[in-house]
């Protein structure tokens, strides 16, 4: 691939040394962690940022009229600036901190869904969504009377753009809510084209960037998105912190999701008025330390650079597809042109759980099951798959270890 030749490269050994956990042994074997799409490991700078805050600079935010509170508020709000820069948001007030992408989606479904989507109007999702982008819409449908439309994917695991257009065409879709990268197939969706299509038919677009944001630079303005959600823990940050980005004018028009402290303008016994975004959507004491940790994670990946990360992961993915395809009886799901470092597969005669257990005994961590995408499993005609997923600290050698491990699995089930 000519574009890879000139891409910046990673100093992989230096990067691996940044992640303390990668030196651990599992079942007395060197850990080969190929489950980063579920949750990524944390670099030392993230761990240190959180510990350092607790040891030297911690109080509640936005409230205390004292030095510690002001400094902590600065650190928390500094993390918001880092997220805004990561996504190229127009304004820092467009960044809402949530618990995770799931909460971000529920926030949109509850707040935007009940006020901007009329009963009878539709939300359009795709066949390859995570449960987090299915269940909130079921709940909204049952509570509020919207309808749910499902855009097809092709057998290669790509979005069927003709079907997306067909399902938008009557102008009754208020929101296209769709993954930016499939957690099962690794497929990148053509987000900018989808946004243009949605807007042409009067729909807003929400991109679930839980996977995509980890692997490539995301520019919400260039994509012309309306909403973007992701979780911190997949981006080398801590669990318990997630992000909702939305255009400011949309956020201004949305009511709060939850009520409580920090999200109000004024409160009397009779009524409350809401603060402006982002605080309107951040009721109660937020995940202060986790936001600080996420900020450190963003600094970390930004210093490495997404050009280098994307090039490294493209190389890993090509290598992974090559060595896994060479195993007889192994079937890789999906064959999208544009795919990231997630490879789901089945092995003839061996259930995915048995694959995972036997790999685990060799120190190799993969995920097995339906990957919170049960309807997609049905669409693909499988009950469950094993999934290897790559991160910036993954090496070709680890993928070779996976291939060797899978050959041993085949021997056991011979």
């Amino acid at each position: 691939m000519s574009d890879v030749l000139h891409a910046p490269t990673l100093d992989i050994e230096k990067i691996r040394a940044d992640f303390p956990i990668l030196g651990q042994l599992v079942h007395n074997k060197k850990l080969v962690f190929l489950d980063s799409a579920a949750s990524a490991q944390k670099p030392r700078v993230v761990i240190d940022a959180m510990v350092n805050a607790m040891e030297t600079q911690y109080a509640n935010v936005h409230r205390g009229l004292h030095w510690m509170s002001e400094r902590t508020s600065d650190a928390y709000e500094g993390a918001r600036d880092k997220v805004a820069a990561l996504l190229n948001a127009r304004d820092r007030s467009e960044i809402i901190f949530t618990r995770n992408a799931t909460e971000s989606l529920n926030l949109v479904a509850h707040s935007f869904g009940r006020t901007h989507i009329k009963p009878g109007q539709a939300v359009l999702i795709s066949q390859m969504e995570h449960h987090a982008n299915i269940v909130p819409w079921h709940m909204l449908r049952d509570a509020h009377g919207i309808t749910l439309r499902i855009a097809r994917i092709t057998d290669a695991g790509e979005i069927d753009m003709d079907d997306v257009e067909a399902k938008l065409a009557d102008g009754n879709v208020a929101l296209l809510s769709i993954t930016h990268m499939s957690n099962v197939l690794g497929t990148y969706t053509p987000a900018a084209r989808l946004a243009a299509l949605a807007h042409r038919y009067g729909a807003k677009i929400l991109l679930d960037g839980s996977q995509a944001v980890v692997h490539r630079a995301v520019d919400v303005q260039a994509l012309d998105a309306d909403f973007y959600v992701f979780s911190g823990h997949k981006l080398y940050g801590p669990s318990g912190i997630g992000v909702l980005w939305a255009r400011r004018e949309i956020l201004d028009s949305m009511p709060p999701f939850m009520g409580g402290g920090d999200m109000i303008d004024r409160v009397s016994y009779e009524r409350s008025t809401w603060a402006k975004p982002p605080f309107r959507f951040e009721a109660g004491t937020p995940a202060i330390l986790e936001a600080i940790g996420l900020g450190a994670a963003i600094d970390y990946v930004s210093a490495i650079g997404f050009d280098a990360i994307a090039a490294h992961e493209r190389d890993l993915t090509e290598h992974g597809i090559a060595v896994l395809s060479a195993i007889e009886g192994l079937h890789i799901l999906g064959a999208a042109q544009d795919r990231g470092g997630v490879i789901s597969f089945t092995l003839d005669g061996v259930h995915a759980h048995d694959v995972a257990t036997l790999l685990d005994k060799q120190g190799i961590a993969v995920r097995a099951g339906h990957h919170c995408a049960e309807p997609l499993m049905g669409r693909l005609g499988v009950d469950s798959t094993a999934r290897a997923s790559f991160a910036l600290y993954t090496t070709r050698g680890e993928i070779d270890a996976l291939a060797a491990g899978l050959r041993r699995v085949k021997q056991v089930f011979g």
């Binding site: 759980h353 048995d354 257990t357 036997l358 005994k361 009950d383 056991v412 089930f413």
Partner: protein
């Protein structure tokens, strides 16, 4: 520390997952139930028939991993010809074997002990106990009068 990666997969488990003895359905049955593990999609459907206060026939259709399939099948061996009270005692003993790693000397778990290694794999406990949950439900099933 055993270096055998496959110590969980005893030969009896591999035999039964490849060639189960009790796979299929019963055409005449007085109880059936499904066991479902939503975490992984494993599913077993059991059919049972009683005669003279004892379990006279059992069959299962299992779609799942080697552990679930073998557990369903070895359960079939263990419960045939037993009374309900004996079956519940076996179920309790087997579930104890999986969750604690030990089981009382009686009732005799016999071949079910081949699944004892599952105790070491917490994320797989449900694979072994799923058929027994389905069997408890099938025994309570009143819908076939």
């Amino acid at each position: 520390m055993s270096d055998n990666i496959a110590d969980l997969y005893q030969s009896l488990i591999m035999e039964r997952t490849k060639a189960p003895h009790h796979a299929g359905r019963l055409s005449a049955f007085d109880g059936d139930a499904e066991g479902d593990n939503p975490m992984c999609g494993d599913r077993t459907h059991l059919w049972i028939r009683r005669a003279g206060g004892k379990l006279a026939a059992i069959a299962h259709e299992t779609r799942g991993c080697a552990i679930t399939t073998a557990a369903s099948d070895l359960m079939g061996d263990a419960v045939l010809g037993k009374t309900e009270a004996e079956i519940y005692a076996l179920a309790d003993a087997f579930e104890s074997l999986i969750s604690t790693g030990t089981a009382p000397a009686t009732p005799d778990l016999a071949d079910l002990r081949a699944l004892g290694g599952v105790h070491e794999y917490r994320s797989r406990h449900r694979c072994a106990t799923l058929p027994w949950q389905a069997l408890r439900a099938a025994l309570k099933d009143q819908s076939h009068g």
